[in-house]
Structure formats: C-alpha cells, structure tokens
Symmetry: C2
Subunit: 525 residues, 2 copies
C-alpha cells in the first residue's frame, strides 16, 4: 500500500464530521449497557472503556473513516518496518522495536536494529546481576545499594514515573533517586541523603552533551572530592547510557556504557537502555522484562484496523474529535492510584512535546488545532483541588481516568464498612457519573450541568505488565494523533531556541539582544 500524507483539513471524512448537526447529549447517551459494552482490551490486563465519551455509532463510523483515510494503521506498520517517519530529522522511529519485532527486520548500516536493542538489554541484564550479586562493587569495596539517575526530560520523567509506580509492589533491590534540574538545589538535596560509597550513578544523555546532565555529573564528582573518602574513585561509580558516538561512550570516566540511538526519542526511551538500567538495578531485570511484555502486547493490539478493537486508535480518534470538532483545548489525566503520581507528568511531556506543533511533516503551516495541554494529579487528591473547575468551570476538559480493582500493598483495614481501596474506587466511579450526568438543582450554584466526557482505563492491579501496556497505549495514541494531524510527532525543534539564547547569556556575548541583556542584569547572571 502506498502511503499518502494529507493535512486533516484536506480529508473528506473531516469535512463530513464538521458538518454533522449539533452535539449529542452525554446524559442521554450514557447507559448501563453502554458501560458494559464500550470497552476494548489494552494489554497488560487493562481495559479501555469509552462509555462516557460523547459519541454515537454515526460519529464513530466517521472517525473510523477518518482513521482509514489518514491510513493510520498502514502508517504505523511502515513505522514498524523502519520508514523514515521522523521527517524533520530524517530518522526512523523504533521505540516499539525495543519491545518486540512486530514488522519486518529493520536494518541500519547493515546492523539489525532489534538485535542491537536486545543486545544492549542483555548487557544491562548481566551488569545488573553482577551489581546485585556483589561482583561489581563501589571503589571502597562496598556493595551498591543505591542508584541515582542523572538525566533530564525523557531521561528523567518516564523512568522516574515508572520507578515510583513500581516501588511499592516490586520490593526494590536498590533504592533509586533522580537528579534532573540544573538548579544546584536539586543535586544538593538528593546528594545530602546519600552514602556515596554505596551509590551508583547513571549518566543518561543520548548526545552526551546535555548541559544539565554534564553539569550535574561535575556536581556529583566535586561532591565526592569534597567528601574526601579514602580510596574513592568516581569513575567506578558512574555508568553511561548514551549513543555509541557520544563523548561519554566508553569513556575512562565511566565503569561501563550502554547504548541507545537516534531512532528512539527521549520521551519514548523508557523501554530502551534509558529505562532498563535504572529500573533493572532497582527491581531486577525480570521486572523490566514484564514491563516490556505489557508494552509489546499493547503495540500488537494497536495494529488492528477496526477502532472498536484498537484501544489506542479509539483513544486517539476520540481525542481528535474533542480537540478539532468540539474545540476542547486541554485534557486531564486522573489516575486513582498514588503510585501513578508522576505518570501525568510523563504523559504531559510525551504528548505535548510530540504533538505541540504548528507545521505538518513537510514543514508547512497547519490551520487547525493540534496537541492539547495535558495535566493531572492523582485522585482522590484532585477531587479536593482542581475538580471544582472541571465540574463547574466555563470550559469543558475531557478526562482520562485510570483505576485498579486492587491496591498494590495488601494491607487495608476496614473503616466504617469499607476499605480505603473501596473508598478510592467508589470515588472514581462517582466522579465519572457526576461529570457525565450532572445534577439539576434549583440553586444554580449547586447545579451540575454534566456533559463532561471521560474515559476509563482499568485493570486488576498496577503491575509491571499493566504499567508497560499503559505506557505503550499512550505512546501509540499520540502517534496516531500525529498521523491524523499529519505532523511529525518525533522531533522537538521548539526546545532549540532557548538553548541557543541561554548559551549567549552564559558566554556574555557582546552582540546579545538588549532585551536579553536587561533580563540577565535583572537576575544578576
């Protein structure tokens, strides 16, 4: 099948959708039967339920037509086969390949890419086993009991969110910490609580030149010098996760290097060596393998053409409908699981950095809305916070709920006739219904208009497999939306200008923009 790349507003199915008459009433649409029938298997034991989305079969069939017209599944297949989908940087996009071989063999300069990724994971598996068994020790002869990831953006948010998600359930072999911000207060605060002799640091930077990460490496090394520990050798406490061509690769300053490449963007790198090293050191490689298995399952389900059987495709198309037809500018992610407390921050990066674009894949200006603002906090916390605006504010914000039948830790006393987990779940389902159906009250201040759509991803328990599927579900959703909008979800040119200007400030450039100089003086740089 030959692929055709069209802007959304050039498709016939989008025009058809836009010309539909007025919006449906969610209050009328949402029935018990719908709750029982409108769900799709996500992988990892999860289900995607879209009963509380404001669509009927007619709209879904238009969305299917749009998905077909924009060739979402053929494009995904070509991505899996190694097509240059990242048009801006002229690169393949291979994060799914870290999980499984779903397409043809992908070769780059004669090298099989799947073999490359698995070989790196195998090297990590071996390294981790040597650390855990005490074969590899710190420079003063003590076993490592702590791992510190130094990285920023994708090298930080995804691995950190996943570490927090699994910390309660996976019984860490090593405690993990993260240093990301160039703010010296970040590194100082993390380091103040550490035993340097038993700490292993992971430097994560694809280019090996990320300003924040190198500054924080230097920061750590200076701290170890100040500590004056007899016999301490910093290079025996660092490993690198980087590309083979980076200055960090195989450097004598690190104990070992593990490799990623240009075909996996930072925000999609959790299932590569970037997440593998820290998560395997923390939980053991077998936990990381389960994460991969869950993600692979979700990737495979995303190959299905029928959106009623493809959860990430359905999620993507419903999001496009809400963004481009209904005009909603943001989406809230609401996990009813404290373990997912930083998962919204990961999705915020993954989605907003991927699809926050104004040009199409060929660099031409787009004249329709693309990626929305993504934000969120765990429930029930959010209920006592920003949910007020979600219920009664003047804008409608679509909601992505996530919840589990069981808690991670099996210790949950009864209080007033129910456990905490039951209370948590009761609140979750109550919110879905409250948002959708509202409540009429003669006092307008206590009136709930309802009509606020949501979807629910649910499962038995937040395990490594479930987490892997959850991660991949959203990656694939964002990929499909990028295809609908005909943009390149895999570059991030928007982060460059700030770096250049910051460099000018630090260099004290004589020809610095006077405005930039004035701000620099204000902050006494």
């Amino acid at each position: 099948m030959s692929l055709e790349f069209k802007n959304l507003d050039k498709t016939t199915s989008y025009t058809s959708l836009k010309n539909k008459s007025s919006k449906l009433s969610l209050k009328e649409v949402l029935t018990a039967d719908r709750v029982k029938s409108k769900h799709i298997t996500v992988g990892g034991g999860l289900e995607y339920n879209y009963a509380a989305k404001c669509v009927n079969d007619d709209i879904l069939s238009d969305l299917q037509a749009l998905a077909d017209e924009q060739q979402l599944i053929p494009k995904y297949k070509e991505l899996l086969n190694g097509a240059v989908i990242n048009t801006g940087e002229k690169r393949m996009v291979l994060h799914q390949l870290t999980r499984a071989q779903l397409g043809k063999d992908v070769l780059f300069e004669g090298k099989n890419q799947r073999d490359f990724y698995t070989s790196q994971l195998n090297r990590i598996r071996k390294f981790v086993s040597q650390v855990h068994s005490g074969i590899i020790k710190g420079s003063t002869g003590k076993a490592f009991d702590t791992v510190v990831q130094i990285g920023i953006g994708g090298s930080d948010l995804g691995p950190r969110a996943l570490y927090i998600s699994l910390e309660n359930i996976c019984n860490p072999a090593m405690k993990a910490h993260f240093i990301s911000n160039v703010d010296p207060d970040d590194a100082n605060a993390v380091l103040s609580g550490l035993n340097l002799e038993t700490s292993l640091f992971i430097l994560v930077s694809k280019s090996g030149t990320t300003q924040e990460t190198l500054a924080n490496r230097n920061f750590v090394i200076e701290k170890t010098k100040q500590a004056g520990i007899k016999g301490f050798n910093p290079s025996a406490h660092f490993i690198a996760v980087t590309s083979e061509t980076s200055p960090l690769a195989g450097s004598s300053d690190v104990l070992d290097s593990f490799y990623m490449d240009d075909f996996i963007g930072g925000r999609y790198s959790v299932t590569s060596a970037v997440g593998a090293a820290v998560l395997s050191l923390a939980f053991g490689y077998e936990v990381f393998e389960k994460l991969l298995a869950g993600a692979a399952e979700a990737d495979k389900l995303a190959l299905e053409t029928d959106l009623k059987k493809n959860p990430s495709l359905m999620d993507a198309m419903l999001g496009v409908y809400e963004r481009n037809i209904l005009g909603y500018p943001s989406t809230a992610v609401l996990p009813y699981s404290q373990a997912l407390s930083r998962f919204p921050a990961h999705l915020q990066q993954m989605d907003m950095e991927s699809n926050g674009k104004s040009v199409n894949r060929d660099g031409e200006a787009l004249h329709y809305a693309t990626g929305p603002v993504i934000f969120g906090e765990p429930g029930t916390n959010g209920q006592h916070s920003f949910f007020q605006l979600l219920h009664q504010g003047t804008d409608i914000v679509p909601l992505q709920f996530i919840g589990f039948r069981k808690s991670q830790i099996d210790s949950d006393p009864d209080y007033e006739g129910s456990t905490s987990q039951q209370k948590l779940k009761a609140n979750l389902v109550a919110q879905i219904v409250a948002f959708a159906k509202g409540k009429n009250d003669s006092n307008p201040n206590k009136n709930f208009a309802g009509e606020r759509p949501s979807s629910l991803i649910s499962g038995e328990q937040l395990t490594a497999e479930a987490l892997g599927a959850l991660l991949a579900h959203f990656e694939n959703k964002v990929m499909f939306q990028g295809f609908v909008w005909n943009l390149n979800s895999f570059d991030q040119e928007g982060v460059q200008l700030g770096k250049v200007l910051a460099g000018k400030v630090l260099a004290g450039d004589d020809d610095m923009d006077p405005v930039l100089r004035a701000y620099s003086e204000l902050l006494a740089i």
Copy 2:
C-alpha cells in the same frame, strides 16, 4: 463607599476593551527599557515584572478603568473588614487576617477574629517549643523527630508545597511527611519508612468529617496496633487541627487540638493553624512568623488602587485580559527553582477551585470565561518536556516565570565557566525572550513565531519571607479576578456531587443509578 456587584459583561470598561482594534505585537512592545521599568514590588524582596505582557499604556488604562469600575480595592477592603464575601456559604473571608490586621476589627459572636487566629498560633508556638525541647514526648518516652500531616486538598497541597520549598534552606528540626490520598498505597508507603515511636501525626480537617482523613487516621492507628510496640498509646501521637465544633476538637483521642474556622477556606489556610502546626514543628515557629510577615507585606501592597503599583492587581487584570479578550484558556506556572516543585500544584488548586465557576456571586449563570486551567513544572525540567508545545503549539499559553538570583544551598561548583545557578538563570531569561520574540527561520519547522507573553516574579533568594509574599500574591490575584468576574471565589459546590455519589456506592444503595452500578461492578467495589 457602597459596593456594586456587576457581571463583567455589564461593565462599560469591558465593552471598551473588547472594541479595541487588533492585538499588539509583543516583539515590537518588548524593549530593554521596558524590562527595566515594568516592575512592581511584591513584598518579601520579590518583584513582579510584566515587560513581556502584550499590553501598552492604552490597554493598561482600560484595565485600570475596569478594576476601578468593578471596585476591586474597595471590595478587598470590605473583605478585610469582615464583609460576607463568600455569598454561597454566607461567610466572611478572613485568611489575610491570620497575617495582620489591615482593616477594622472583625468580630464574630462577640469574639475578635484576629485575637482568635493569633491565640491559636501562640498555642502552636508553645506546643512546638515543648515538642522541640522534649517536654512533650512520644508514648514510649522517645522524643519526636518526625511529623506527619494527614489531610487532603487545602490541608495538604499548600503545607506540603511550602514544606518542600523550605526544606533545603531552613534546616528542619523535624522531618515532615504527608498522607493525603485515600488510596491505601499512599499511607502504606509513607508509614513503611517511619519510626512510629518518634512520629507525631497531625489530623487536619475543618469539619472533622473528611472521609479520606478519617480513613487515614484509622489506617495509622491500625498500623500502630499491628506494630505491637509495648506501651504505645496512639492518642499521645496525634494532634488535631480542626474547627472548635468538630468531633475531633478536644477529643480524648488526641494530645491537643488547634483551631481554625469557617472563615478560612482550605486552599487559603496555609497561614492559619493548618500550615502553622506542621511548618513550625518542622522548622520552628520563627520560620513560620517570617512566612506570615512576607504574606502580610504582599497583602498590604494589594490595597493600592493604582495597578502599576499593585502587583497582584496588575497580575489579575493582565490575566483577565488574556482570558477574556485574547481568549487564552490556560496558564503555565514555571518556577526556576526545584524547591518550588509542588508550588504549581498548590496554585492549581487555589486558582481553579476558586474561580472555576459558571455562576455569579448571586447564583446567576455567567456568559463569559472565568478561571483558566493552571499547570506547571519547575524549569529547566519543563524545557525538556512540554515547552515544545508552549513554543510551537497551535494555542498560546501565557506563562508565569519565577526565579531567584541565589540558590538556597550555597554549594555550587563551576562547570565550563559558569555555576549551575548561573545556567539555571540563563535558561530562564533565554526562555522569556525566546517566547516573546521568537526567531525567523526559512525552515518553518525551526521557525518560532514568538508573541507568547509571560511575566516574571524574581527575588534574591527563596526564603520564608519571599515564599509568604509569593503565596499571598497569588491568593490576592485570584481574589481580584473573582471580583472582576463577579463570582464567589470562596466556596466549592463543585466538589459535593461526587461525594454524594461515592457515598451511595459505598452504601450499596438499592436505588443507585444503573450507570453508577455498572461502573461499580466494573471495578468490583
């Protein structure tokens, strides 16, 4: 002066603003002189700089007219004097009174409210001093070294954000933890790292009936029973912060109770006993006093009628201009300080719960946009994440930067010619300029349109005084915006429906809505 309450769309100054011709160019507006001149003292050593906001003197004078027409300062003064500004719940609004007496004496049932708040703070001061000196000990005779706040929403977000903000600089006397979510994994994770014998728990609930907080209290008590510590008496390890009429007040299950009242909403309660107990136990009461002093300074500056001299008024009016004239639906809060990592979550609650309303103060429907979505993460982290959308997305998101000349911890080695703090600041100013002025590039994918407005709150260092002023600045901004929109910023009816429905689920009501039942079955409640 008699007060008049008008909807925004009934004011003549709003009509005048709406009829202005096309939008200004920020690229043209923003000059070095403007950076040097467009700033206002915030209090606590901070400055509010609005050079990079897309307004000229003409628009500012319209905004001043609107502020005058909506009587923002007279309304603030009446609030300070004890007017019933919370019309929905028919209550006074007195959080500023915890900081200073800026208006007339406020009496309630013959009681002077300022005396009431200060008497509670004095009781906390004394209690804290007895804990720190070891006069008050745990039930097994060990000194307390840890404090755990159990609360949700305003009893959690503000105190937690402020604790994190000061942890590095204030040398905690006691380590603080927070349990908020009803998710049992939250309480289990926090408790697993604690020594119960040396832990003091603070139950924070105004009503004394908050479901999550009572469930978590029970959770902690069950854990202490399971621990089977000889001689352990839970009631000697709990204090309460609650209203005088709540079931927790003076209960034999707590060591002591400290009081708040109905005139301080949860999201405005950090400077009341709610924040005082945990922050004073952590850092000493003198640190809390500095926080109050910074907040009081900001409150006083908010009395100024001229918006060019009143930072929270200016911030409020610029926000209204961006929301109602320019139509921007969200605002990002971007502190370049890791210590402020949870401050955006606090502002998210404070702003969205206050002004996420669709009815005016008299309960009549409004026909214009009110409170925006608020989200944010610290820089430079955000630069490697969602900043892509902020720079090149299809929607414009106004930005609130926050930064400091000095870091909190004075240990910052040089790397490649600059310290980490210099790099942090250089990135901050670079971003402001990149967002405002953009960059033309013949490659549209590398083109930055600019025209993305921001403001900057900056100061020497994030101290307790600065933090107090920062807190009050945003509280007052939100209050002024509520007055402009003619809504009640001080109730939260939108959180009620979910509670009612959750109660039905937990009670297993026979007449439960079939949709609610279907969702309940899905999650096996």
